[in-house]
């Protein structure tokens, strides 16, 4: 049958009208009810709504603590109060309340004007948003405000735990600090389920930032009956069920590998205005101390930091926010020479008996590269060259090897690439090779560049942490560790949730006899006459190390005295060390910026840190005698001599000796 456009039958049209009528009737019923609700019973509901608001209140979770390796608290939270003004509840706000607050809190005019403008500027729903008018109230301020609650409608004192950094500026770069999250950050934080609100603090830099999610914990929820003015009421009607409450989950504790006593010692003994000390365990890569000076007080940055303080910090030429241990790179100077030496030995073109006659410089083409000893060192073999830091010897190595073998050894030891410490931002440094110069230097690679790089100048740039790791790798026989600052994550009640294991970046194939020669020479630097750091020889501990005095400025025709130079043109003083030389445990690098000679300005600091490390070890061992189940490990006696022996020269007999010269008389030491 065909379907033709027909209008519906009469009986069906009636059905449509029924439908429409039913819907309209529904609307009319609603309208009548609305009239009943809003006009007849309106006052009743208005009163109810004003008396009884159930307001969900966020209960902040306690932030986890940061502790040192022995459990000493480095950062925790202390109870504190912030003051807020809620414009909607603040009657006669600008006329009366704010002037009173200004008196009690001793605002200056700028501050008062700013808050007045803020209060006046809010419209509509924003008037219910509390405005923070003072964070971290002092005890006196709190007392005054608490004494006048009736004078201050709409002013709330909210308990907010405040971060407390117990050692102040001492570990600031490692720990970081906290401040308010910005609007832009909220989205990204909350997309990861962070549960942040405006006004919340989040960790900045260092441990606080890197472990933010674990330190933070999870906020809980509590319900409170409040009236229309936002005042808390007694819950007379049992409106709040206990089941609705969600307890906060406290954050986890982060336990560092830092020993705060060693850190304090580094801080105490470091003499310079700017520089850094890095100490780590050569057997694991865990960092024991990492000091960077100048520093900043995280308590100030986390709290009420003024604009003036921020500008002063930003304008300080010494850049206190800069974490010198990892975020700046420097020419390593002579501290690089052990690496050049390893490259030289590995090449087979040098051995223990290779020697150079230092006359105060090295000629290549028409130019003379100067040795730091203007009058020359005389004849120097490999060990002596390293011990007395003879530049001429290493110029020669650079000349013979070229740049790439040296760069290869440097890179193997971790120079020129990030260490992977993770927690703090680091720069990669530069380990130049031929390809690098062809790419980056106008005119491309020149032979002289190898000479500069061989003594740790030129484009060689390392971070102090990289250098420490390289020395640690030499000390432990060739294991390059990934440095770590955190030992473990603990729950609030001290249960270990996560334990971090040493991470090996790579094993470097260093021949035992090559390592032995270098270690022996570095031991001689401190412990034998003719070394550049004999003044810091330790009584009980066999310290091995290397001084470095890195030029910041090209030396002119005349060598200037330190005092005559502009501060920022003076040499950097380095000392890189490990101990004990025969069974290394700790590596320490000290960089004293623009301080001059490494042996004088940096070596004593390194020696003091090493001394402190072994003092503490001894003290801890004897302290643990009483409660310990097992006997304490025997304290190592002072070794008199390095156990490493020089490699026998026989193997080298067939090898081509540098410049074809006969082996020097080993007894010749000036």
């Amino acid at each position: 049958m065909t379907l033709r456009p027909t209008s519906p039958g009469r009986d069906l049209k009636v059905r449509y009208l029924y439908l429409g009528g039913a819907m309209l009737a529904g609307l009319v019923v609603l309208a009548v009810n609305l009239y009943r609700l809003q006009i007849i019973q309106g006052d009743e509901y208005l009163a109810k709504s004003q008396e009884n608001f159930i307001k969900p209140i966020r209960v902040r979770a306690d932030r986890g603590m940061i502790k040192d390796r022995r459990g000493e608290i480095l950062a925790d939270s202390r109870p504190s109060f912030d003051a807020f003004v809620t414009p909607a509840f603040c009657q006669r706000c600008v006329a009366e309340v704010l002037p009173r607050l200004a008196t009690y809190l001793q605002w200056d005019e700028v501050q008062q004007a700013r808050i007045e403008a803020q209060v006046k500027g809010t419209r509509g729903p924003a008037r219910f948003q509390p405005i923070s008018v003072r964070v971290d109230l002092t005890r006196d301020e709190l007392d005054v405000l608490n004494a006048h609650p009736d004078e201050l409608p709409g002013v709330d004192l909210v308990p907010v735990p405040h971060r407390n950094y117990r050692s102040g500026a001492q570990l600031a770069h490692v720990l970081g600090y906290m401040n308010e999250v910005t609007q832009d950050e909220l989205d990204s934080l909350n997309s990861k389920g962070g549960g942040y609100a405006l006004g919340d603090y989040a960790g900045r830099r260092g441990i606080e930032r890197y472990f933010e999610s674990r330190l933070r914990g999870q906020d809980g929820l509590r319900k409170e009956v409040v009236n229309a003015r936002g005042e808390s009421m007694r819950d007379d009607q049992g409106l709040i069920g206990g089941s609705d409450e969600v307890p906060p989950k406290p954050g986890k504790n982060v336990v560092l590998s830092i020993d705060s006593r060693l850190q304090a010692e580094a801080e105490r003994v470091f003499p310079g205005v700017a520089g850094t000390v890095v100490a780590l365990d050569v057997r694991t890569g865990f960092i024991l101390a990492m000091m960077s000076r100048p520093s900043f007080d995280p308590n100030v940055l986390t709290g009420r930091v003024s604009a003036a303080q921020m500008t002063a910090m930003a304008k300080d030429p010494l850049q206190p926010m800069m974490f010198r241990s990892v975020a700046m790179h420097y020419s390593p100077g002579s501290t690089f020479k052990p690496i050049t030496m390893l490259a030289a030995l590995k090449s087979g073109q040098f051995n223990a008996h290779s020697f150079v006659n230092c006359t105060g410089g090295y000629r290549l083409g028409s130019r003379v590269w100067r040795c730091w000893a203007d009058r020359g060192h005389g004849i120097r073999d490999s060990r002596q060259a390293l011990q007395s830091s003879c530049d001429t010897f290493f110029y020669h190595v650079g000349d013979v090897l070229g740049l790439d073998p040296i760069a290869e050894m440097g890179k193997a030891l971790g120079l020129g690439s990030p260490t992977g410490i993770g927690v703090v931002g680091e720069v990669p440094g530069i380990m130049p090779d031929v390809a690098y110069h062809d790419r980056a230097t106008p005119g491309g690679y020149q032979k002289g560049m190898a000479l500069n790089s061989a003594i740790g100048q030129g484009d060689d740039n390392v971070t102090p942490l990289q250098l420490t790791l390289a020395y640690a790798a030499i000390a432990n026989g060739g294991t390059l560790y990934q440095p770590q600052l955190v030992r473990r994550i603990e729950s609030v009640d001290g249960k270990v949730l996560e334990e971090f294991q040493p991470k090996v970046t790579r094993q470097i194939p260093i021949a035992a006899e090559h390592r032995a020669l270098v270690v022996d020479a570095l031991t001689a630097v401190v412990n034998e006459a003719g070394g550049t750091a004999t003044r810091v020889r330790l009584k009980d501990i066999l310290l091995a190390g290397k001084t470095g005095t890195a030029q910041v400025q090209r030396i002119g025709a005349v060598r200037e005295k330190k005092e005559d130079m502009d501060y920022f043109e003076r040499d950097h003083a380095w000392f890189a060390a490990f101990a004990p030389a025969d069974d290394p445990e700790i590596a320490v690098v000290v960089l004293n910026e623009h301080a001059g000679h490494g042996g004088v300005e940096s070596a004593p600091t390194a020696a003091a840190v090493v001394q402190k490390y072994f003092d503490l070890k001894k003290a801890d061992a004897s302290a643990s005698v009483v409660p310990a189940v097992r006997p304490p490990p025997p304290v190592e006696g002072p070794p008199e001599k390095p156990t490493e022996k020089l490699p026998a020269p026989g193997d080298d007999a067939k090898r081509k000796l540098a410049a074809g010269q006969p082996p020097p008389d080993p007894g010749e030491v000036r």
Partner: protein, 399 residues
């Protein structure tokens, strides 16, 4: 539309638009934008740091909705008949997809959204319109046979049952009820015997009862409905807060933006309970306006249905009008404590992109039905209508 050449205008002249119906729809959408901002600004600021978060999204949806409305109007409801089956199939696929783990997003214990980067769609909203189009087409095709139990009643009941089961799996009780309601309306309008309808309603009651009793949250909603004040701190919380909110509005309201319930007291203030905020901030005057606007849509919708030139148009207009009217009445009734909480949004007003876009598209079809009738006063209407009617008949026969 009257200025073009006769030949050109016969082909491309836009249909005559019912200005009253269009005005009512646009007024509701505009009011919705204002109220979405007012009711969500504080929570959005607090939780997302951007008080405009929901407003921007709703504005985007309204823009897309306008496009959907214009397209629907331009294409004309008659051509939509052709797509009745494909659209229903798409709707079913979406309803199935939302249940697939990984595709459907769980929000508040129910899987109702399919989330794509940047957008999320609610299949149930699409399904409602697809269901109306399909039923209208099917009933128009079967015309005289609708009265027969095996042809006019049973097949539709079977398809409805399938869709209802899919909705209940999400679970989405409100949409399931809406789908059933729309079927009854359209069957009723198409001339199904009243005894079948009454009988099937009676048959559904035990199932609905079981669904309520066996689902804790639905049971809680039911008991909250019966006595919200006794369950005030639990299941009755939303309703009592909503009642206080509407009640405290009085005649003129507390003023736009000055409502207090949206300040974290009333959950879902910008979606399911936006009517409470309108009541609080704009008072009886505001809600009366809203009720009147829905009344206007019902009036013009029924009028278009009556005047439509063929059954498909009639059923489509009835179905769309009922869908809007039903959801509006139920949502407002819930806000006033007159019906148990359902999870149905307030058409055109509540925050929600899928719902707004689909509803505006549906409004476009409704406008198209209204425009296609001689009652709309278009001089060329009768001629075009006759031609289009022939096309539809041909389509229907072909099908």
């Amino acid at each position: 539309m009257a200025t073009g050449s006769p030949r050109g205008s016969a082909r491309v002249a836009p249909p005559a638009v019912d200005p009253i119906l269009l005005g009512a729809v646009l007024s509701l959408v505009t009011l919705g934008l204002v109220m979405v901002y007012s009711s969500s600004a504080v929570t959005a600021q607090d939780r997302l740091g951007d008080s405009f978060h929901y407003l921007w999204r709703q504005l985007t949806a309204a823009g897309l909705g306008l496009v959907a409305m214009a397209v629907a109007l331009r294409v004309g409801y008659r051509r939509v008949a052709r797509f009745a089956y494909p659209v229903l199939v798409v709707a079913v696929l979406l309803l199935v997809a939302v249940l697939v783990p990984g595709l459907g997003t769980m929000v508040g214990g129910a899987k109702r959204w399919i989330r794509f980067p940047g957008v999320s769609i609610q299949p149930a909203e699409v399904a409602k319109l697809a269901w109306v189009v399909y039923l209208s087409y099917s009933l128009a095709k079967k015309r005289e046979k609708v009265a027969l139990f095996s042809i006019g009643f049973l097949p539709h009941l079977a398809v409805a049952g399938f869709l209802v089961v899919l909705c209940m799996l999400e679970p989405d009780f409100g949409s399931a009820v809406t789908l059933l309601f729309l079927m009854f309306i359209l069957l009723f309008a198409a001339g199904t015997k009243l005894s079948y309808l009454v009988g099937s309603v009676l048959a559904v009651i035990p199932f609905a009862y079981t669904a309520i009793i066996r689902s804790p949250y639905r049971f809680a909603r039911w008991s909250a409905f019966l006595d919200p004040w006794a369950n005030r701190r639990g299941s009755g919380y939303q309703v009592t807060e909503s009642l206080m909110s509407i009640g405290s509005g009085g005649l003129w309201g507390l003023g736009l933006g000055d409502g207090r319930q949206k300040l974290f007291f009333l959950p879902e203030a910008h979606t399911d309970f936006i009517f409470s905020i309108i009541g609080e901030e704009l008072g009886l005057a505001g809600v009366a306006l809203v009720v009147t606007l829905y009344g206007v849509i019902v009036w013009r919708g029924i009028r278009a249905a009556l005047a439509a030139s063929e059954p498909f148009g009639t059923y489509l207009a009835l179905g769309i009008t009922s869908a809007i009217g039903f959801q509006a009445v139920v949502n407002m009734a819930v806000a006033m404590g007159l019906a148990p909480t359902k999870g149905l949004t307030l058409p055109f007003i509540s925050y929600g992109g899928s719902s707004l876009i689909v509803l505006m598209g549906a409004a476009g079809l409704l406008l198209s039905v209204a425009a296609g009738s001689p009652a709309a006063g278009n001089a060329r209407g009768a001629e075009r209508q006759a031609r289009n009617a022939r096309e539809v008949s041909a389509d229907l026969e072909a099908a």
